[in-house]
């Protein structure tokens, strides 16, 4: 099975563990993700609200590129929920609205490109694993079941709605990730907020809103005594992981719930090493939770302090706070 692959910006940086683990996990199933050439940012969650034509042109460029590289098949896979939504939304609107399509093509012509509707389906990485690879095939490869690990499956809000092409699960209470985690042998908790919002870029815009939304998720996961939150979106992962300490400060709570990608847990259950799955890069230390299932994660290498060179001038001294 060969698919066109659109990694998206996050997977090159903060979510590199997601990328690495997805590639590793795909191999034993004979699944190949061929990265499309010369892709660009999808605009993430807020750009579309600012300038519609520019924002969609940004996405449409990727669609055209993918369509022009048919050797990789007619399915474009996006591991990030925001990328997935933007790509499928653009494909949907452009294929059904002729006027919009014409305007878009004027914009694309500037880059010598032309969009034609159809011929490409946009799908999320999870969809490929649960529906194309299938639970049975995955179950056969499980050698180290995640027995005893309490997992809260977190889908986020972008993957299940709205009901564009490519949406493969229930809008309100999706359950494909639940089933996948059960197949891996984990103890899946009935996580009620599984399809609620993580706050997206609210962390940059409105701290109070972001903290409240994150707190809801973390509190709920803690109430259910989840050891790990498993995600399928780099945005969700970043917010829950990187801002967990802020939430603890903000609400005087003491959550410690590591947030991992589903591909990382698949790899662990399939006997791959924590290192190969990129585990160890998260802010909230996953080691205590993974120790429950006997997975050892090597100590992170200590960051070497840079010694000041002799030529360096001293830093200006700041006045002491009173």
């Amino acid at each position: 099975m060969r698919y066109s692959y659109y990694p998206g910006c996050s997977l090159e940086r903060n979510a590199s563990a997601y990328h690495v683990s997805a590639m590793e996990v795909a191999k034993p199933f004979g699944v190949e993700f061929a990265e499309i050439d010369d892709w660009n940012c999808c605009g993430a969650t807020e750009y579309i609200a600012l300038n519609k034509i520019a924002a969609y042109a940004l996405v449409a460029r990727n669609l055209v590129i993918a369509k022009n590289q048919p050797d990789n098949g007619h399915t474009l896979v996006a591991p990030c929920s925001a990328c997935f939504l933007n790509l499928s939304k653009a494909e949907q609107y452009l294929s059904e609205n002729e006027t919009f399509r014409e305007k878009m093509n004027i914009a694309l012509e500037a880059g010598g490109m032309h969009y034609t509707a159809g011929g490409l389906s946009v799908r999320h990485l999870l969809d490929i694993f649960v529906n194309d690879v299938g639970y049975n095939a995955i179950a056969e490869k499980v050698v180290k079941p995640l027995k005893g690990l309490r997992i809260a499956p977190y889908y986020g809000c972008l993957i299940v709605r709205p009901g564009f092409q490519g949406v493969f699960d229930d809008h309100e209470q999706p359950d494909t990730l639940d089933k996948l985690m059960k197949v891996l042998g984990a103890n899946v908790v009935d996580f009620p907020l599984k399809a609620s919002c993580c706050g997206g870029h609210m962390t940059q815009i409105s701290e109070a809103v972001a903290m409240d939304l994150l707190n809801r998720l973390l509190k709920n996961a803690a109430d259910y005594e989840a050891d790990i939150l498993v995600t399928l979106c780099p945005m969700c992962q970043l917010n829950l992981d990187a801002y967990q300490a802020d939430v603890n400060r903000y609400f005087k709570t003491s959550y410690h719930i590591p947030v991992l990608y589903f591909t990382q847990l698949m790899g662990l259950a399939m006997g791959m090493s924590a290192q190969a799955m990129g585990i160890g890069k998260e802010f909230v230390d996953a080691r205590p939770a993974l120790a429950k299932i006997g997975v050892e994660v090597p100590e992170p290498a200590p960051v070497k302090k840079k010694r000041p060179s002799k030529e360096e001038l001293p830093m200006p001294r700041m006045p002491e706070k009173e």
């Binding site: 229930d170 309100e172 209470q173 009935d190 009620p192 907020l193 509190k219 709920n220 109430d223």
Partner: protein
């Protein structure tokens, strides 16, 4: 040039037609321009359907010797019969009268007066050309068998059966479950009077059980229906009960001794248990239990027979087999009821996932003194009394994701629940509604009473029911997230228990059953009545009537009314002894028929039979409803429909097209 003398009558219908169509001009035009087509008189009149209007026609028939009549007025659905009867009174065969619609097809759908007037002329002209080819016909007379089949032993079917049986005519009552009683037998109280459901239902059930004119088949299904109005042949599958009814005394020792316990999905709505051999409830009619073969240890594993060992009269009979019984009936009443909307479909309401979310039918059992908790309203743990309860209206109803229609009963049912909860537990009840619909006698008074009792009402569609606590006071509760549309704010209401007031849906097998009886379903799956206002219990198939929720959601009083109404309709038929059927029928010219049998399967009423010996098809005139499907389908043109012969239809089209009517502009530009 025809030799017929045709009279044309154009109706104003007050301003219904005259408001858009120049009726005077149409009448004048027909009198002058259609003179050479046989029109000898043309008149307009304010209300042709009035006695005076009809007398006008009758007078002309007598005085001018009219041989054909064309009336330009409303749809034939409405007044065809009126004008045919008028002709009949004046001595003209009623089928020589043609009613053409210039109301539904012209004035009600157009605004351009001139164009509408021209179109009316074309339509009248078509009628004139057609009526020349009309044949005098005589209605068909069919004898009516005095017995009636009632399908479904809920309150509607029970009412129908009793009305007919009390009038002295035999009834076959077929019920799928082991006992009659239907959904009403599951309820504790009925709105708005709060009288005990069982107390008012069981006397009727007992009457049915003991009635000399009622032959009851429970644990049975209708498998085949042949024949036609007045003379149906019905096959009933009587499933093996494995109980010898002649020996059984109804002592239910077998039920006590049976070791196999199963969740009762039907009568107890999944909230209680029953045995493999059981009567669904103590007042069941008939009293004999049934042995559920799929769950019986003996049938599944080969050993047990505890029931047989303990039965004092030796009534257990493991050798029984299904019986197929054939009965003759003249009419059929379908009262097969409804299914409850499956609340699992609305995932955000958490039914099946969150323990203390209940469906309305579950709550009925919970509050029923004969139910699994003896009427104690408790949470799913079976002991804790709720301190706060949320009742959600319109679950699966008035929602384009599920069903568009209003399920009618849910508002009142929810009020009843609210009252019962407050009365028995003292819990605070909050109703979540979109609109309150408490029409009908004494219903709104009940609503007012609830308001005074302190029940809270929040107007808004519930978004979600969750156990994810967010704020203090929400811990361990179910939180109902809703937009209160009266104050325009999102609210979160924590409660201990949620009751989903689920809507009603057609039976899961409604479509197959409709096909079996040759009637049709609406897009929703409810059975279609002959006329939504004027003939709500008859169907388009002669001799098949409907009553109760099978026609659409309704409450007990309405179901009982329909049950009685359907019985009254049947009684009228039986009393006549025979029925006159419209002679609008198809007939097959045997000389032209090639025996290809294409028409055989096309006929929706199974009215065409094939003669193997002569290799030709024949239409059974009593079964044929004159729909014309076979006429259109016959490749040899061997089938002709009376009143809709090719000659009539082609002449009508010629009349519409060829006469001196101003052609619409569009046609000219095309050429």
């Amino acid at each position: 040039m025809t030799e017929e003398k045709i009279g044309v009558y154009i109706c104003h219908c007050g301003s219904n037609i005259a408001g858009t169509v120049d009726v005077v001009d149409v009448a004048k035009w027909a009198g002058e321009e259609l003179k050479d087509r046989g029109v000898v008189v043309s008149r307009d009149y304010k209300f042709m359907c009035s006695s005076l209007g009809q007398e006008l026609i009758e007078k002309d028939i007598k005085e001018l010797g009219l041989t054909r009549v064309v009336v330009g007025a409303c749809s034939p659905h409405l007044h065809e019969n009126t004008f045919r009867t008028a002709c009949d009174r004046a001595g003209l065969n009623p089928y020589l009268c043609e009613l053409v619609s210039i109301r539904e097809q012209v004035s009600w759908v157009h605004t351009d007066r001139q164009a509408a007037t021209e179109k009316s002329k074309a339509i009248v002209s078509g009628g004139v050309e057609r009526v020349v080819h009309n044949q005098p016909l005589e209605p068909l007379h069919v004898p009516i068998h005095p017995a009636t089949l009632v399908v479904g032993g809920g309150i509607a079917g029970i009412q129908s059966a009793l009305e007919l049986a009390d009038a002295g005519f035999p009834v076959y009552l077929v019920e799928r479950e082991p006992s009659i009683g239907g959904h009403m037998a599951q309820f504790d109280k009925t709105f708005p009077t709060l009288d005990c459901s069982a107390c008012i239902l069981t006397p009727k059930m007992v009457s049915v059980g003991g009635h000399k004119n009622i032959n009851m088949f429970t644990w049975s299904e209708v498998t085949q229906v042949d024949g036609y109005v007045g003379n149906f042949t019905v096959t009933i599958r009587k499933r093996a009960r494995y109980i010898n009814e002649e020996l059984c005394t109804g002592c239910v020792i077998c039920q006590e001794k049976c070791p196999k316990k199963i969740i009762d999905e039907v009568y107890d709505a999944g909230l209680g248990y029953r045995k493999a051999v059981y009567t669904p409830f103590p007042q069941a009619v008939p009293k004999y239990p049934v042995l559920d073969r799929e769950n019986c240890t003996y049938f599944q594993k080969g050993t047990c027979k505890a029931c047989e060992k303990f039965c004092p009269t030796g009534a257990i009979d493991f050798t029984q087999e299904d019986e197929y019984i054939t009965v003759q009936v003249g009419n059929i009443i379908l009262a097969t009821g409804f299914d409850l909307f499956d609340a699992r479909r609305i995932k955000q309401y958490g039914y099946g996932r969150l323990a203390n979310v209940f469906t309305s039918l579950e709550f009925e059992r919970l509050s029923n003194a004969a139910g699994p908790t003896n009427g104690n309203i408790v949470l799913r743990d079976g002991v804790t009394t709720p301190e706060s309860v949320g009742i959600i209206h319109c679950v699966g109803s008035r929602d384009k994701n599920y069903n568009n229609y209003c399920s009618v009963i849910c508002c009142m049912q929810s009020l009843k629940f609210a009252h019962l909860v407050e009365e028995r537990t003292g819990a605070q009840v909050t109703n979540f509604y979109i609109d309150m619909r408490t029409a009908f006698k004494a219903y709104d008074e009940f609503y007012q009473r609830l308001l005074e009792e302190g029940t809270q009402f929040i107007r808004g569609k519930v978004a979600e029911i969750t156990d994810a606590a967010r704020k203090p006071g929400e811990e361990g509760k179910l939180i109902i997230q809703v937009e209160d549309t009266l104050i325009g704010k999102q609210r979160r209401i924590p409660v201990d228990m949620v009751i989903l007031s689920c809507g009603l849906e057609p039976r899961h097998d409604a479509k197959e059953v409709a096909k079996l009886f040759g009637i049709s379903c609406s897009a929703d799956g409810w059975y279609i009545e002959k006329h939504p206002k004027l003939d709500p219990v008859a169907t388009m198939t002669e001799g098949v009537f409907i009553a109760g929720c099978v026609q659409g959601p309704k409450d007990i009083p309405a179901s009982v009314s329909q049950g009685a109404a359907a019985a009254a309709r049947v009684l009228g038929r039986i009393q006549q002894g025979e029925i006159a059927l419209e002679p609008v029928r198809a007939s097959i010219d045997e000389a032209k028929c090639s025996g290809c049998r294409i028409c055989n399967n096309m006929c929706p009423f199974n009215a065409i039979l094939f003669h193997e010996d002569r290799m030709v098809s024949e239409v059974n005139p009593a079964l044929c409803q004159g729909c014309g499907t076979c006429v259109a389908a016959c490749p040899a043109g061997a089938i002709s429909g009376t009143c809709f012969s090719n000659e009539q239809i082609l002449s009508q089209i010629e009349g519409l097209l060829l006469l001196n009517v101003r052609r619409p502009l569009v046609v000219e530009t095309v050429y």
